[in-house]
Subunit: 345 residues, 4 copies
C-alpha cells in the first residue's frame, strides 16, 4: 500500500500517520519528494486500513500495489490449468480444456424440446463439435418472456449425452438449483448477469463440477478474476473464464466482443479462456469472422449458438447459426487454429 501525501502536508501529519501505522504492526518507508511525500507501507494487513488512511489529515490518496486476486493468478500458480471433461459414454474420448486443442461448444440458446436436442446433438457431433450447450433456466430481461423448460430441459440434455455422446454445459441462476444442475451438467455456466451474484459463486464453488464464468456486461477483467477467486476460494479449482461481449456505445452490434480479454486473461491467470462470439455480436453474419479472430487471438475454446431453424427460435434467433453454416465455420476454424499452432480436437 502506498500513501501519497498532499502538497503542503505537514511533518506532524506524516508523523501521525507513521505512528498509527506502527500501532497496526506495519512498517512505513517515508520518501520525502520535492513536491509531495510518499509513504510505502509494508505488510499484508495494510489493505484493512485503506479507508482509515485515506481519511487521515494530509493524505491525498492511497494506492494499493498488490493484485487483489491470488489463487487464480499466474503469479501464485504459474502452471496452466487444464480441465478434463470425462467421456459422455463408455468408449468415447474425454476432453481437455486449456491444452493445445481448441474446444467448440455449440447448441441452441434455450432447450426448446426433446426432439430438437437429440437431432441437433447428433448433427453437431457429426460436424465435429465437442460439447453441447443449451439453457434450461433462462435469465430474461422481461418477466413476460419465455423462462426456460427448467428440469424438463435438463433431462433432455442428459438424454442427449447418454444417447448422442456430447457432454453438456448449461446455466444455473439460483443457489438453490446448483446441486441439481450439477447432476445433469458436465460444466455449470454462471451467466453474465450473475457474475457478481456472490452467493451463487459460493454455491458453485462447493459443487464438484467445472464452472464456466461469463464476464458481466460492464465488468472489468479484474472483477471477472475476483469472481473466479470466489469460486476457487470456496474449494473449486476448475474454473473457465468466458468473454462474451461488453456493453459499449456501439449500436450495430448487440455487445462489443473484447478479444483482448483473451491474451490479458491468459497472461494474468492460469485458467482456460473461452469466447462466446454469438452473444458478443448478436448477429449471425458476424459470428464467423469473430470466431476466427478469437482463435487467432489464442482462445482455448468457443461457445456458439446453433439452431435448427433460427427464425423459429424462442430466443436469440438473430444470432444463431444454421447447422449448415456452423459446419462450414468449423472447417474455416480448423485452418486458423493450425495457423496459430493449435487444432480443433
Amino acid at each position: 500500500m502506498i500513501v501519497v501525501m498532499k502538497k503542503g502536508a505537514t511533518e506532524a501529519e506524516v508523523e501521525a500517520l507513521t505512528a498509527a501505522v506502527a500501532e497496526w504492526g506495519l512498517k512505513a518507508h517515508v520518501s520525502p519528494g520535492t513536491e509531495v511525500t510518499v509513504i510505502g507501507l509494508i505488510g499484508d494487513a495494510a489493505r484493512d486500513h485503506e479507508a482509515t488512511l485515506a481519511l487521515m489529515p494530509g493524505v491525498d490518496k492511497v494506492l494499493p500495489v498488490l493484485k487483489p486476486y491470488k489463487r487464480v493468478s499466474t503469479e501464485f500458480h504459474p502452471e496452466k490449468t487444464v480441465i478434463k471433461i470425462p467421456p459422455a459414454r463408455h468408449g468415447d474420448r474425454g476432453l481437455s480444456i486449456g491444452g493445445t486443442g481448441v474446444v467448440v461448444m455449440a447448441g441452441p440458446c434455450a432447450v426448446e424440446s426433446r426432439e430438437m436436442i437429440l437431432s441437433l446433438g447428433a448433427f453437431l457431433k457429426g460436424a465435429g463439435a465437442h460439447m453441447m450447450r443449451g439453457g434450461a433456466f433462462k435469465p430474461r430481461t422481461s418477466p413476460y418472456a419465455f423462462q426456460g423448460l427448467g428440469v424438463e430441459g435438463l433431462r433432455y440434455l442428459a438424454e442427449e449425452r447418454a444417447v448422442v455422446g456430447l457432454p453438456v454445459i448449461t446455466e444455473v441462476m439460483d443457489p438453490r438449483d446448483v446441486e441439481m444442475v450439477g447432476e445433469f451438467a458436465d460444466i455449470i455456466q454462471v451467466g453474465a448477469r450473475n457474475m457478481q451474484n456472490f452467493n451463487l459463486l459460493k454455491a458453485v464453488g462447493r459443487c464438484g463440477k467445472p464452472v464456466m464464468l461469463k464476464r458481466g456486461l460492464a465488468n472489468t477483467l479484474e472483477e471477472l478474476l475476483m469472481s473466479a477467486e470466489y469460486v476457487v476460494s470456496a474449494g473449486n479449482p476448475e474454473v473457465i473464464l468466458c468473454e462474451r461481449g461488453i456493453r459499449t456505445f456501439e449500436k450495430f452490434t448487440r455487445n462489443t466482443l473484447d478479444l483482448s480479454a483473451v491474451p490479458v486473461l491468459k497472461r494474468e491467470s492460469h485458467l482456460p479462456v473461452v469466447v462466446d462470439p454469438s452473444h458478443g455480436v448478436g448477429q449471425w453474419d458476424l459470428v464467423a469472422p469473430m470466431a476466427k479472430a478469437a482463435v487467432a487471438a489464442g482462445a482455448d475454446g468457443l461457445i456458439i449458438e446453433v439452431h435448427p431453424d433460427p427464425a423459429q427460435a424462442v430466443s436469440d434467433g438473430a444470432q444463431s447459426l444454421t447447422p449448415k453454416r456452423f459446419k462450414e465455420l468449423l472447417g474455416a476454424l480448423e485452418l486458423v487454429a493450425r495457423a496459430v499452432g493449435r487444432n480443433l480436437h
Copy 2:
C-alpha cells in the same frame, strides 16, 4: 411492431412477409416509401415473432413500438404510488414514501455491532432522519473482505427499531434469505449487482414487504423498470426505485450519479424514486452538494451513509458522513426541499 424493408427489397418479399403475418393472426399495414417500404404490424403477439421477422428475406430491421413494461408505467397506472411504512413503535407516526415529504434514510454501510446501531440510531432519530439503513449481508467484490454479520446484524437492527423507533431498510442477496429478512426489515433492498438477479426479484415479489430496487452499475432506466416489473408482476406492487450512480469513464468519483434518472423515472413510472448520493460519488465531501441536487431534481427520498467514526468503518468509510456533518446536511436539505415546494417534515 414496425418492419423496415431493405432498399431494393422485392414485392415478392413484402408479400411473403404479409402472408406470414396473416397466418399469425396479425394485420399488416404496408407503406411503400420512395426509398424503403415500411410495414406496421398490429396486434400484441407481434413481439413473439420479432426474431423471425428480422431474419426474413428483404428485412432491414424490426422496431418495437410498445414499451416493454406495463404495470410500473404511468401509461397503465397514472396515479402515483405512495408507500406507507407503519410506525416502528406504538405511538410513533408512520411514513409515506412518494408523497410531498422527502424521506431520509441514514446509517452505516454495514452493521458492525449492537452498540453502534443503537447509539447511532438514537442520534439519527434526534437529528431528523426517518429510517435506518445498515447491511447485514454485504456483497463484496473480494471473497476475502468482510461479508457482514448476517442474522446477528438483522437482530441489532430489529432492536434499534423496537427501542429507538426508526424503521429499517436492509439488503437481501439470496432468494433463500428473503422470507427471513422480511421478518426483520420494513423495506427490503435489492442491491445494484442483483438488479437482474431474476430469481431474487421473483422471490421479493412474493414477500409482503416494500422493496427498494437499486439501479445496476451499467443498466439503463428501461432495464430498471423491467426489473421492477418482475417484482410487481410477481404480486408485490410496493417498489421504490433507487438511483445510486452508474459506471462511466470518470475517475474522480466512484460512480456517476445520474440525477436525470429522477425526472425520467417520475415521468415514465408511478413508483417513488430515492437517490443514494453516498455510493453515487464515493467521497464524503461530495455527498452534501449531490444530496441537495437530488432534492432539487425532485427525488422522493435519500439514502445516506453515516458512520460514528468513518475512519474506522469496515467498509465505505471514505463516503460516510460523520453524525455532525449529517445533521448539518439535514438543515441545508430542508431549505432546498422548501424551495421546490416540498419538506423533510
Copy 3:
C-alpha cells in the same frame, strides 16, 4: 513517480533500476515489502522516463503521484478565478462569473435570423437572463445538415448586444476563425467535440477573450482540466469549465448530465463552472429539474437553449424551452439559488 516491482523481481533488477535513475539525476527510495518492492522516485523529471521505467526488467507498474495539471489547479492557485464581462452598452452593469451570483446564458441553438435574435434577445433580457447564446458555426454529425449562418450570424449577435444589451457567447470551431469570432463575442465557446482539438485550444489561448470549454462526450474531468491547462498555458487565464452531459448507456436522455462534475471541479480547480442542462438531457421537460439541481450542486452559471418556436427550430428543437417556460424557470431557480446562499441578481 512510484515504481512497483513484480513479485519475484531480483535484487539485480532493483539495482539496475536505481542505477539508471541516478544517471537521470533522480533519487530513488527503495521500500522492500513482504511481497513486492516499491521504489519512490524523487524529482520532477521522473515523468519523462515513465515509459522507460515501465519496460525495465522486473517492473510491474509505474504510478504517477503528481497531478498533471498545474495552472488550473487549486493547489497552485488557491484563490477562485472570477471572470468579468464588461457591460454590453454604456450605462449597463457588467457581469461576474465565478462569484456569488449565478449567471444565466440563454438563447437558441443556432442563430437562424436577425429578427429572431433581436426579438428573443429583448425577451430574455426582460425575463432576467444575463447573456445570450447562439451558434453561428454549428458542428453537425451530418455533412447534409444546416451548418450555421457563419459571419452573418455573428453580425446579428453583435447587433443584439449593441441594441438590446445582452453580452454574447458563441462557438468557434476552426483556428482560422478565432480572431474574427473574438471580435464579435464576449465569451468564446469551444464545443464538446473540440475539447481535445489542441490547435484550437492553443489558438483561443492567444485571443484576448474569456473561453468557455465544454467537456467532451466521453472525456474525464482530468482531461477537461488538461485542456483548460492548454488554454491557460498559452496565455489566457480566463477559462470557464462547462459540464454538458456525457455519453452513457442510458437511452431515455440524449446524454447523462454529470452534476458531480460541479463539486469535483470546484474542489480541484479555481475556474468557474457552468452547466448546460439542455444538451445534458436533450428533452425540454427535463431541463427545469436539472437546472434546479445544477444550482443546488453549486454551479456558477447555466447555459440554456430557448427558442421562440421550438417546433420550427433548425436544430435542437426538442430540448429548447419556449420563452414562457424559460421565464417560469428563472423564478424557480431564484428560490433554489437562495436556498444554497446564492442569487440570480
Copy 4:
C-alpha cells in the same frame, strides 16, 4: 420516418399531424393499432421535420428509417473501393488497399530524428512492411508533452520515401496544414480525437490524397461513417476507415480494440478497413495476438508501432514493438492471412 403516437392519442391529434405533413408535401400512412397508432411518412424531406413532429401533441416518438450516410454505404455503392498508392520510387511496385492483400503500415509513434526514420525505414522494408507511419504533429493530452517535430519531421519522412522506398502515412491536426502535409504524405491520417473536427474533415476532403480516418475514442461506427461521408461529400472518395480501440471500463488495456468493427464496416460500407492494434491495447505483448485476430476478422490492413528502442521512445514506448519482434510477427501474420484466403503482399 415513422411517428409513433402515444397510447391514448386522440383522433384529432392524428388528423392534425397528417394535415401538417400534407402541407410539407409528404404522404402519411396511418396504421391504427390495438394499443397505439403508427404513422409512416413518405418522402425524403421528412427528416427536416423530425423535431417538429416530436413536439406535436399526442406524439410519443419519431423513428428514422433511412441510413444517414449515403456515399460511403454499400447500398448506394456496392463495389468495394480499392485505393492505389503509387510506387514511392521509380521501378518500385505500387500498393492496393482494399484488395486481397493485407497491407502493413509500421513505424514509430513520433518522428524523433532523421537517423531513426532512415534506418528504421530500411529495416521495415527489408522485413516486408508496405508503408511507413510516423507522426510529425502529435496530439498530446498535456500542453507540456512533446508536440512533434513539425515540418522537419515531414522532411525526414519524405527522405525515407525517396531513399528507402516505403510510402508514408502521417497525421494532420489543423486545417491550415492540410495542403502542406498532402505534399509530403501518401496517405493523410485524421486522428481519433479529430474524428468529429468537421472543418478538418472538409479540408482533407478537398486535398488530392487518400485519407485514413480513425474512429474516435467513444464514437459509434455510424458516426465514423458519417465523418467519412464528410470527406467523400467534399470531393475525396479515397477514404480508409481505421479501428484503433474505444474507451471502455477495462483497465488492463489502454483501450478496447473492437474487432467486430471490421466485419460491420465491410458490410455497411465499400471502404477499406485498417486496424491499429498498438493503440487498441497499449502494451506491446498484446499487439501480436490482436494483430493476428484482426487479420482473421478480415481487416484490409494493419498499422503497427515499431521503435528501434521502445524504452527510449518519446511517446507510446510501452506499446511499440522492437524491430525483431515486428519481423517475427510478420511471419505469423502471413500464416493467418493465408488461413483466411488472403496474403501479405
